[in-house]
Symmetry: C2
Subunit: 279 residues, 2 copies
């Protein structure tokens, strides 16, 4: 992996890397924040999965997460949201909610997406192996994300309980099999057999894991979020949480919308939550 940018922030370092991804068959960029504590030894990492249209730069520049991460001694690993490059197929109509910038953290099984759109494996396997081999990171991981990335964090965290100490999400798409964004993405990447979609649906996963040990979960959702009713539908997850006894903490935040201002307001809470579980 090649270092492309290195900026000091809150006493730590905001880094940007480029690497040739074997899993995605393309060149990828990702960002990392290393807290000052990483100069003394290995630190735990919070993976941040971004939402539709984002790259690794949105969270890096807009969430203000480095302040609390520097205090808590947490690294932040911030991947892109899809494979990239001229060779990578995109939505034929250039839609914002499918193709580039909209990988939905799945392993695509359909043509022409299959070759590059393997974001699930990239986040679960390739990226952690890469950064843990080259950076001062322990194998203690937590995962968080926003919107499409909140979906990704819940799904990846629930399916890989042993790999993540805790899971959190802002404004997640909790039941993608039942909402327009999710149906479009899952049918496109996985085909029309809806049984294949279930393992990428956090609400179904929570129900199926009833009675099993899962990582602690924190979800924040703004009640003024313009996507709440049609796309995010937090209630499904709340019901599954109740039915399964999973104990997820699901907070409705009055007056907040879907923007990075919402994330900036509560990211410190999320990082403290992860830090307490990573110890």
């Amino acid at each position: 992996m090649e270092l492309k940018d290195d900026k000091k922030v809150f006493g730590g370092r905001q880094l940007r890397y480029e690497h040739a991804s074997q899993v995605l068959n393309c060149t990828m960029q990702f960002s990392v924040f290393l807290p000052p504590q990483a100069e003394q030894g290995k630190v735990p990492a919070v993976y941040w999965l971004s939402g539709l249209t984002c790259t690794d730069e949105n969270f890096s520049s807009k969430a203000g997460a480095q302040r609390a991460a520097a205090e808590l001694g947490l690294a932040l690993i911030i991947p892109d949201t899809s494979p990239r490059g001229d060779d990578v197929p995109d939505d034929p109509e250039g839609a914002y909610d499918f193709g580039k910038g909209a990988g939905f953290y799945v392993n695509a099984t359909q043509e022409p997406w299959r070759r590059h759109y393997q974001m699930y494996d990239y986040i679960v396997k390739e990226l952690p192996e890469l950064v843990e081999a080259h950076l001062p990171l322990s194998e203690d991981r937590a995962i968080s994300g926003h919107s499409m990335g909140g979906h990704g964090a819940l799904v990846i965290g629930l399916r890989n309980s042993e790999r993540y100490a805790s899971i959190s999400a802002f404004s997640p798409i909790v039941h993608p099999t039942q909402v327009p964004w999710g149906k479009k993405a899952l049918s496109g990447y996985l085909g029309s057999d809806e049984q294949q979609w279930r393992s990428y649906d956090a609400t179904y996963l929570l129900e199926e894991l009833a009675g099993q040990a899962i990582p602690p979960i924190l979800v924040d959702q703004g009640d003024a979020d313009q996507f709440l009713k049609e796309q995010l539908c937090t209630e499904f997850f709340r019901e599954a949480n109740k039915a399964s006894g999973a104990g997820a903490q699901i907070r409705m935040q009055p007056g907040y919308d879907h923007s990075y201002y919402f994330i900036a307001t509560f990211i410190e809470d999320h990082l403290r939550f992860h830090a307490s579980n990573l110890r």
Copy 2:
């Protein structure tokens, strides 16, 4: 003034307004952060002047300033960096350092800039009158800014001591009459008579105000800033500060560059500095 956007952040409100500027002869947009305390009564305001190429949105979304402003009960008033619109002349070659996005906070005297490029009067008079008439703001003001906006904050604060409780700057162009960015802008907007440039040069102003009461000043400058040697030249201001006994606090911050990561790291210090002087 017309409200264009209203988002909740850190318990306060991030607002965006549009208005017809009489001084600039064009339609302008600006951003405001109102802290939660503004629901109970009038609050003091910190004006933030941005740098080259910026609009009101860069500081709003990247500095993370709302967190400390909400705690301290400070409003943030965040103007654009130049007049805007199709009627407003721009640099004929589309340069980033002159014309739109590069008003340098001066009152232009030269054609074709004179009609619109009156950013000094806009910041000192029109904008405060507008926001103080329509928003829950006291007449207690402080001023800060970055790079070109650090120049603007120092010049406007020093020339209007009675209007600002305190002045601060990140990476300011302290001696624009002597550096490429400043020479280009001042000769373009003010003409070739260098005597006309002096009242827009913070280093000269500090020297001329020796022995007079001026607001407390805080300057932060990263020592890894790529513009430090050629454009910012903090040393001139440090020498004028020493010679004049002005007592400005000028801090070199090791390892920091010119980016918003630098601003994000130290904006809390600046807001605490202003809050202590605004009481």
